[in-house]
C-alpha cells in the first residue's frame, strides 16, 4: 500500500444518522464495525482526469456517491478533498473496481474518515469548508433590473433549449404558493438532461441558491421552504442520479462550488453598480466599457468550465428567480411544435 494521502472531509454527511444505524445493524457482526467507526464496501463508479466517484450502497436510500476530488477538480460541496491526488494515483483505478469507505459513527455527524481503492488510501485529517451562498449586503430591492438580468442572460448557453422556460414556470409556481404546481414544475426539471448532473437539476440548484441568496426577504424565505419540501417529497433518488441528488440537497442549504459563489458575487457587484437616474429609475452602467465587459468575460470563462453546460444551466435557474415579474422569458421554441408543454 502506498503512503496515505491526507484528505479533508465535507461537513455535509454522505450518510445520515438513519443510514448509519441501518448499516450498523446489517454489518453488526462484521469486524469492520467498531464503537466509533464503520467500514463499508464501495465501488469506483466514475473516473475523471481530476478525481473519481465512489458508490456506497446505503441500502435504505440506495447508492450514495462520494466524489473524491484532486486539486484541479471542481470542489463539489459533498466531496472528499485530496489535495495531493495526482494522475499517477488515478492511473491505478478503473470503473467497477472495489473500494472501502470508513465512517466515524459519532451521533451528530457521521464523517468520512478514510477511503481505500487499489493502492490508494486517503485519510481525513480535517473538515473543509465548502463555498456557501449567503444573502449579500445590498440596499434597496433585491431584484435585478432588467438590464442586469438581460446582460447576463444574453451570454448564457444552457444545455437544453427550454430550460429557462421550465425554470421560470417553477419560479412562478413558487411565488404563487401553489404546492401542486410547484411539484409539477419541479418534476419537469428533476432528472431532465442526459448527464450525471442533468441540466434540469442544475437549474433547480440555481433556483435554490437564488432563493437562499434573497432569503432576507420573508417572501423568498417562504418560497425556499416550499421548494425544499417539494424536493424532499419527490424522493430525489428515484428521479435523478445519486450525485445530482446530493448536490441538490447541498444547494438547498446554500452550498455550491467556488466558481458559482464567485459568479454570484459578480452579479451582486453588478447590482451594486446600478445607478439611479434623475427621474428615479434604476439604470445599469453600459457593459461595453472595457473593465465591466472584461469582468463579465472572466465570469463566463469560469462558468463555462463547469461541466459541459452545468454552469450555464445553474445560472439559468438562478436568474429565473431574479427576473422581474413583468418580464417573460419565452423560449424561442414557445408556441412552436417544438415547445414542451409539460
Amino acid at each position: 500500500m502506498s503512503r496515505t494521502l491526507p484528505a479533508a472531509a465535507s461537513p455535509l454527511p454522505l450518510l445520515d444518522h438513519d443510514d448509519v444505524t441501518a448499516l450498523e445493524s446489517i454489518l453488526s457482526s462484521s469486524p469492520e464495525v467498531t464503537s466509533s467507526e464503520m467500514t463499508v464496501d464501495a465501488t469506483v463508479i466514475g473516473l475523471f482526469p481530476t478525481g473519481f466517484y465512489l458508490g456506497v450502497d446505503a441500502h435504505r436510500r440506495g447508492t450514495q456517491v462520494l466524489p473524491v476530488m484532486g486539486p484541479d477538480a471542481l470542489q463539489l460541496p459533498t466531496g472528499l478533498q485530496v489535495p495531493q491526488l495526482t494522475a499517477d494515483h488515478l492511473g491505478g483505478l478503473r470503473p467497477g473496481m472495489p473500494a472501502t469507505v470508513t465512517f466515524s459513527t459519532a451521533p451528530a455527524h457521521p464523517r468520512v474518515e478514510q477511503i481505500e481503492a487499489a493502492n490508494l488510501r486517503c485519510a481525513a485529517v480535517r473538515t473543509w469548508r465548502p463555498s456557501r451562498i449567503e444573502p449579500p449586503d445590498l440596499s434597496g430591492p433585491r431584484r435585478c433590473s432588467l438590464g442586469v438580468v438581460a446582460s447576463v442572460q444574453d451570454r448564457l448557453n444552457p444545455g437544453l433549449n427550454d430550460l429557462a422556460l421550465r425554470s421560470v414556470n417553477l419560479v412562478r409556481a413558487l411565488k404563487s404558493g401553489a404546492a401542486e404546481d410547484v411539484d409539477s414544475f419541479a418534476r419537469a426539471l428533476l432528472g431532465y438532461g442526459p448527464g450525471s448532473t442533468p441540466s434540469g437539476d442544475d437549474a433547480l440548484c440555481g433556483i435554490a441558491l437564488a432563493l437562499r441568496w434573497t432569503s432576507q426577504s420573508e417572501f423568498s424565505s417562504c418560497q425556499h421552504s416550499l421548494l425544499a419540501s417539494s424536493l424532499v417529497g419527490l424522493a430525489l433518488e428515484e428521479r435523478t442520479t445519486a450525485v445530482s441528488a446530493s448536490l441538490l440537497r447541498a444547494a438547498l442549504d446554500g452550498y455550491c462550488i467556488p466558481e458559482i459563489e464567485r459568479a454570484v458575487a459578480d452579479i451582486a457587484r453588478l447590482i451594486r453598480a446600478e445607478k439611479i437616474s434623475g427621474n428615479g429609475h434604476r439604470t445599469t452602467p453600459p457593459l461595453h466599457s472595457f473593465d465591466e465587459a472584461h469582468g463579465l468575460d472572466e465570469v463566463f470563462a469560469n462558468i463555462s468550465r463547469i461541466g459541459h453546460h452545468s454552469g450555464h444551466d445553474l445560472l439559468t435557474g438562478f436568474l429565473a428567480v431574479l427576473t422581474p415579474p413583468e418580464l417573460t422569458l419565452a423560449s424561442p421554441l414557445e408556441g412552436t411544435i417544438h415547445a414542451d408543454d409539460s
Binding site: G46, F48, A87, W128, G193, P194
Partner: protein, 1000 residues
C-alpha cells in the same frame, strides 16, 4: 429497424464523455440512432418517445445505451464502439495532460495566486527579500504570513499600511504561528474548534494560550499572528488592529484574547478603544512586570466566557518541596515567550535572572558556557543562537547537549517542549535521553536533579502527546501543560542563593511597558480610532481569509508547505531565488503607489490600440528627414561602435541617396558627422535588422485610430543579400532604386485606392494560422496581397511593372513583417509615458547594444551588450560568422508576439532551433513575466489563451526569466547577408539599469 438496449448500473460519466461516446457510436457504419444517458424518468421518457422500449426497472443511476441500426451486425458494432469509447475515456482520464503537456510551476507569488485563487501567502525567504515577496502577495490580493525575520521596521510599517489599505493583513514579520480557517500555519498546534479568537504578537505565547484553551475544552476560532514588534510604538499595532477588525466580523468568534510580550502603552490604549468601537469582547494576556502569567490570563478569559477553569494537568509530580535544591535554577527554552514568562515569574522570588535575553536589571550572558552559580535562563530560539542552524523546535541538538551538561551544576532544570505542526516529529525520545543524562550526572555528584518540563501541545498534535508525557516522566521529569505552573514549581524547589537584590522590577528592554490593560467590554461613545465597521470587515478579503476554505501559496522554506499538506490544505510552492538588482531599490519600485494603476493603464492602452495602414510616403515627407539624415535600428549609436552589417547598411544608404560615389566616402562622412544617425524609434519608426532609413525610401504609414499615434516602417527588400543585412553592392542598390521608383509608388496608389487596412486584424489571423509575426509572416503577407491585388491591378502603371510588384511581394514571405512591426509599435506607443509604470514599451538592437525603454521613464534608453543568438546556421556558416543581435523587430516580442507567442507557431523551431515542446514551454514561461493577456491575439493550442502581454521589468528581475526573441542572424562582415536564425534574449543589464532609473 432493429434496436438494442444496454443498461449498465453504477457507472458515471459526465455529459461531455457521453457526447463523445454518442458521436463515436453514431459514426459506426449501419447505426441509425444512438441515445446514451442516465436513466432518469425524463430521459427514459424521451427514449421511449424515440421508439426504444426501456424497461420500467430502469433506475436513475443506470446508464442507458439505446441504439438502432440497419441490422444486427450494425448493433453489435455500435455496442463495441461504446466499449471502445469508454475504455479510451477511462485511459485518458487517468493520464490526461492535454495536448500541450503539464503546466510549469508558477515562478512568482502573484502567478501562483492567480492560478490557485489562494487566500493566503506564506513568506519565509531571507529578510532582505521578504518585503518584495510580501508586497507582491498583497498586490495580488492575498494576506501574508510573514515568517521571515531581519525585516527592518520601516519595511514592516510600509507593508502593514499597504495591507490595511487593501483590506488585508500582514502577520509578521517573524511570525511563526497562526491558525486561520481551521488550518495551522507555521508552528501551530491542533486545537479544537471553539469561539475564542487569539491575536498574538508572540508565537510560543500563542501556542501556550491556545493549548490551554484546548485543554479547558474551550477551543479557538482563529489565531492571528501579528509579529513580535507589532505592538511597539513604531508599528502602532497595525496588524493587531486589522486582526481585531477581522475577528469582529467573524461569525465563529465571540471573544478575543490578545497575547503579547510587553507592549507600548499608547498602542494598547488605541487597541482598547478600537475593540470597544467594534463591539468585541477582548481580554489581554500581555506579559509584563504586573502581569507575569499567561495561564492566569487564560483563566480570566475562560471565566469571562463562562467556562469552568480546570485544574491544569500535570504528570510525574511529587508534590513536595521539602528538599530544596542547592544550585541555580537553569532554564533552557525553545520558546522566547516561555523563557520570558519563566524569568518574570522566577525573578519575583529569585531576583534577576541571567540570560541571553535578559530582562531589565539582569545580567546578559556572554559566551556559551552556562554560569555555574547564577540563576540562568537561555532562549535557544534567539537569533544569536540560530546563526547557521535551524530553530530548536526543528533541530533540538544544541539544546539537548546543554541539557545533558547542565546536570553538573544546575539545582533545578526547567525546560519547555513545544509540539505541533512544523516542530520536530518525535522530540520526546531525544529529550528524555538528555534529561536522563543530566539526572545521572547530578546523581554521580551526589545530588538529586529535579527536571520540570512545560509541555506545550494538545492530544491531537502530530507528535503523540501521551507518549511524549510517558517518555518524559519515565526519564524522571515532572510535566505541566502550564509554563507558569511549571516555573513556580521549579522555583519552589530552589534554596535561596546569595543574589544581589535589585530595586527594579524585572522588565523586558525595548518598548515602554505599561500596566496591565483592563479587559475591554463593548462600550458606547468611545473615541473611534477606526471607521471600519465589523460588517465591512466581514465583507472584505479579511473576512474571506477567516471563513473561506484555505488555499495557500508558500514561498521559501518547504517545511511550511509540508505541514500544510499534512493537514490536507491545498498549497502551491513557488521556487524562490534572490532577484537580480538591488533588493531595496526593487522594493521601492514595487512600493510606488502609482505602479499598479500605471501598469494597468499601460496594459489596457497596449491592448486597445488599433493599427491601420493609411498610406505610403517617402521618409523625407513623413518623417521629415533632411537629405543627410539617416535612421538606424536600436538605441542611439556612434558610428565608430557600429558593427559590420550596420556600417554596410548605412554606407549603402548614403550611396543610394547619391551623397557619395563610394562606400568608403560614405563611411567617412558617417564617421565625421556630415551624415547624421539617429534611432528609427526617435521618429516613431521601426526597421528590421540594420533598419536603415534614408530620405528617399518609401515608408508604410500607419495610424492608431484609438489613440491617434502614428508609426512607420520601410519596405522589406526580400531575402538574401539585402541592405538590412549590411549588403551594399550594385545589386542591392539597384533593388533599392526599383523600390523607390516602382514598388513604393505602386503600393502608395494601391493603398490609396483601397482605403485603410486593419493590420491589427492581420496579427490575430497570423497567430491563428501558425505564424508568430517575427520569423513567420506568410499569413499576413498573403492577406496583404489578397486585400491589395484588386486595387493594384486596376492601377494605371505599366503591366510589367505591376507584374514585377506582384512577383516581388509573392516571393517574400517576410514582406508583411514590415507591417507587423509598426502595428506593434503603435500598440506600445499607446502604453508609453505613464509615470510609475514598469512595463517595457521598446526592445531594440543596433548590432552593438540592446536597448529597452520603459513606460514610466519616457525616452530614456537602458542598454547592455547585444548578444549572439543561438540557433541554426545556413550553409557552412557558424557562430563565428554571426553578428550580435540587431534590429527593431524585437518590437514584435515587446507587443507579445514573436518569441513570446512561439506556441502559436511551433513550426518556427525548424528555423530557430528547439522542438515543439520548447515552443510551448517558452510561451508558458513568458506569462510569468508579463502583466496580462491579449483578448484578441490568441494561441489556439493553449485553448485560445491570449498572448502574454506587457513585459514587466519587476517580474523579469524577480524571476530571472528574460523575454525570448526569435531572430534572424546577420553576418558580422558587411555584405555577407543572413547567416542563420535563432533564439536570443536581452542582456539583464538593460533591466537592472532600468530599475535604477525607475527607483529614483
Amino acid at each position: 429497424m432493429p434496436t438494442t438496449l444496454d443498461i449498465r448500473s453504477g457507472l458515471y460519466y459526465d455529459s461531455v464523455a457521453l457526447m463523445q461516446v454518442s458521436a463515436q457510436v453514431k459514426a459506426t457504419e449501419g447505426v441509425d440512432a444512438a441515445l446514451i444517458g442516465m436513466g432518469t424518468e425524463l430521459n427514459v421518457g424521451l427514449m421511449r418517445d424515440a421508439g426504444f422500449d426501456i424497461p420500467d426497472s430502469t433506475a436513475p443511476n443506470d446508464l442507458v445505451i439505446a441504439i438502432s441500426g440497419s441490422d444486427e451486425a450494425a448493433l453489435t458494432s455500435g455496442l463495441a464502439a461504446v466499449d471502445e469509447a469508454f475504455t479510451r475515456i477511462a485511459d485518458t482520464a487517468a493520464r490526461s495532460l492535454g495536448p500541450t503537456g503539464a503546466e510549469q510551476s508558477p515562478l512568482t507569488v502573484e502567478s501562483a495566486v492567480e492560478r490557485t485563487s489562494s487566500t493566503l501567502v506564506v513568506v519565509s525567504v531571507p529578510g532582505d527579500y521578504a518585503g518584495i515577496e510580501t508586497i507582491a502577495a498583497l498586490d495580488a490580493g492575498n494576506s501574508v504570513l510573514l515568517f521571515s525575520d531581519n525585516v527592518d521596521v520601516d519595511t514592516e510599517v510600509a507593508l502593514k499600511h499597504r495591507a490595511a489599505e487593501a483590506g488585508l493583513i500582514v502577520m509578521g514579520p517573524d511570525c511563526g504561528t497562526a491558525i486561520v480557517a481551521g488550518a495551522g500555519l507555521g508552528f501551530a498546534n491542533e486545537v479544537r474548534p471553539g469561539r475564542i479568537g487569539i491575536v498574538a504578537a508572540s508565537g510560543t505565547g500563542a501556542q501556550q494560550v491556545s493549548t490551554l484553551l484546548d485543554a479547558a475544552g474551550a477551543g479557538i476560532s482563529q489565531l492571528i499572528g501579528t509579529g513580535g514588534r507589532d505592538l511597539a510604538r513604531e508599528v502602532g499595532g497595525l496588524s493587531a488592529k486589522q486582526a481585531l477588525k477581522a475577528l469582529a466580523g467573524d461569525e465563529d468568534t465571540d471573544h478575543v484574547i490578545i497575547v503579547s510580550k510587553p507592549a507600548d502603552a499608547e498602542v494598547v490604549a488605541e487597541i482598547e478603544v478600537l475593540a470597544a468601537d467594534l463591539g468585541i469582547d477582548v481580554s489581554w494576556a500581555v506579559l509584563g512586570p504586573e502581569r507575569t502569567d499567561l495561564t492566569a490570563s487564560v483563566e480570566a478569559a475562560l471565566d469571562r466566557c463562562g467556562f469552568t477553569v480546570p485544574t491544569w494537568p500535570s504528570w510525574g509530580t511529587t508534590g513536595t518541596s521539602e528538599d530544596l535544591q542547592q544550585g541555580p535554577l537553569v532554564g533552557l527554552f525553545c520558546g522566547g515567550t516561555m523563557a520570558d514568562e519563566a524569568m518574570l515569574i522566577a525573578a519575583e522570588t529569585l531576583g534577576p535572572i541571567t540570560s541571553n535575553i535578559p530582562l531589565g536589571g539582569a545580567e546578559k550572558m556572554t559566551g556559551a558556557e552556562l554560569p555555574t552559580s547564577a540563576h540562568t535562563v537561555i532562549d535557544f530560539g534567539d537569533d544569536g543562537m540560530t546563526q547557521g542552524r535551524a530553530h530548536p523546535m526543528i533541530d533540538p541538538s544544541l539544546r539537548l547537549g546543554a541539557i545533558a551538561e547542565a546536570g553538573g551544576s544546575a539545582g533545578v532544570l526547567l525546560l519547555d517542549l513545544v509540539l505541533g505542526h512544523g516542530a520536530h516529529a518525535a522530540p520526546a525520545e531525544g529529550l528524555a535521553e538528555a534529561i536522563s543524562a543530566a539526572r545521572l550526572a547530578a546523581a554521580q555528584a551526589g545530588r538529586e536533579l529535579p527536571v520540570i518540563v512545560s509541555l506545550i501541545g494538545t492530544q491531537s498534535d502530530p507528535q503523540d502527546f501521551s507518549a511524549t508525557v510517558g517518555s518524559l516522566v519515565g526519564a524522571g521529569a515532572e510535566v505541566y501543560v502550564s509554563n507558569a505552573q511549571a516555573t513556580r514549581r521549579a522555583v519552589s524547589l530552589i534554596a535561596p542563593l546569595n543574589q544581589p537584590e535589585s530595586d527594579n522590577a524585572p522588565v523586558r528592554p525595548g518598548p515602554s511597558t505599561h500596566g496591565a490593560p483592563a479587559n475591554t467590554k463593548a462600550a458606547a461613545n468611545s473615541a473611534a480610532t477606526s471607521d471600519v465597521s465589523a460588517s465591512d470587515a466581514s465583507a472584505t478579503k479579511l473576512g474571506e481569509l477567516l471563513s473561506a476554505e484555505p488555499k495557500v501559496v508558500s514561498v521559501g522554506l518547504s517545511l511550511f508547505a509540508d505541514a500544510l499538506r499534512a493537514q490536507a490544505v491545498p498549497v502551491v510552492e513557488v521556487p524562490w531565488q534572490p532577484p537580480v538588482g538591488d533588493a531595496s531599490r526593487l522594493f521601492s519600485v514595487m512600493s510606488d503607489p502609482r505602479r499598479l494603476t500605471a501598469n494597468a493603464q499601460a496594459l489596457e492602452a497596449m491592448l486597445k490600440a488599433g493599427a491601420q495602414l493609411v498610406g505610403l510616403r517617402p521618409a523625407r515627407e513623413c518623417l521629415g528627414l533632411a537629405d543627410n539624415e539617416f535612421l538606424h535600428s536600436g538605441p542611439p549609436l556612434d558610428f565608430e561602435r557600429a558593427s559590420g552589417p550596420m556600417r554596410g547598411a548605412l554606407a549603402g544608404a548614403v550611396v543610394f541617396e547619391g551623397l557619395t560615389d563610394t562606400l568608403e566616402e560614405a563611411e567617412a562622412g558617417l564617421a565625421d558627422g556630415r551624415f547624421s544617425m539617429a534611432p528609427c524609434h526617435s521618429k516613431d519608426a521601426v526597421g528590421p535588422m540594420a533598419g536603415v532609413i534614408s530620405p528617399s525610401m518609401w515608408m508604410f504609414e500607419l495610424i492608431d485610430p484609438v489613440y491617434g499615434n502614428r508609426a512607420y516602417c520601410s519596405l522589406n527588400e526580400g531575402l538574401g543579400k539585402v541592405l538590412r543585412y549590411g549588403a551594399n553592392n550594385d545589386e542591392v542598390l539597384d533593388r533599392l532604386r526599383w523600390m523607390r521608383d516602382i514598388l513604393g509608388p505602386v503600393l502608395a496608389q494601391a493603398v490609396a485606392a483601397h482605403g485603410p487596412i486593419d493590420t491589427k486584424y492581420y496579427v490575430s489571423q497570423m497567430l491563428a494560422s501558425g505564424d508568430e509575426g517575427h520569423n513567420r509572416n506568410r499569413t499576413a503577407t498573403l492577406l496583404f496581397l489578397r486585400d491589395l491585388m484588386p486595387d493594384l491591378l486596376a492601377l494605371d502603371f505599366a503591366t510589367d511593372d505591376l507584374a514585377e510588384v506582384c512577383s516581388f511581394l509573392g516571393a517574400n514571405d517576410y514582406f508583411a513583417l514590415n507591417l507587423v512591426m509598426p502595428t506593434c509599435k503603435l500598440a506600445m506607443a499607446a502604453a508609453k509615458g505613464i509615470p510609475g509604470s514598469s512595463l517595457v514599451v521598446t526592445m531594440a538592437r543596433n548590432g552593438t547594444d540592446f536597448g529597452i525603454q520603459l513606460s514610466g521613464t519616457g525616452d530614456e534608453w537602458f542598454t547592455g551588450p547585444a548578444q549572439i543568438a543561438e540557433g541554426l546556421y545556413l550553409g557552412d556558416f557558424g557562430p563565428e560568422d554571426a553578428n550580435p543581435d540587431i534590429g527593431d523587430s524585437a518590437i514584435t516580442e515587446t507587443a507579445g508576439i514573436g518569441g513570446l507567442a512561439m506556441a502559436a507557431a511551433p513550426a518556427v523551431v525548424r528555423l530557430v532551433g528547439g522542438d515543439v515542446a520548447f515552443a510551448v514551454e517558452t510561451t508558458r514561461r513568458m506569462y510569468e513575466i508579463t502583466a496580462g493577456e491579449h483578448p484578441i491575439n490568441q494561441i489556439p493550442i493553449l485553448e485560445f489563451r491570449g498572448v502574454p502581454s506587457g513585459i514587466d521589468l519587476v517580474k523579469v528581475l524577480r524571476t530571472k526569466v528574460l523575454p525570448q526573441i526569435n531572430t534572424g542572424m546577420a553576418g558580422r562582415i558587411a555584405g555577407v547577408g543572413q547567416v542563420g536564425a535563432g533564439l536570443v534574449n536581452p542582456p539583464m543589464d538593460c533591466f537592472t539599469n532600468g530599475l535604477e532609473s525607475l527607483g529614483q
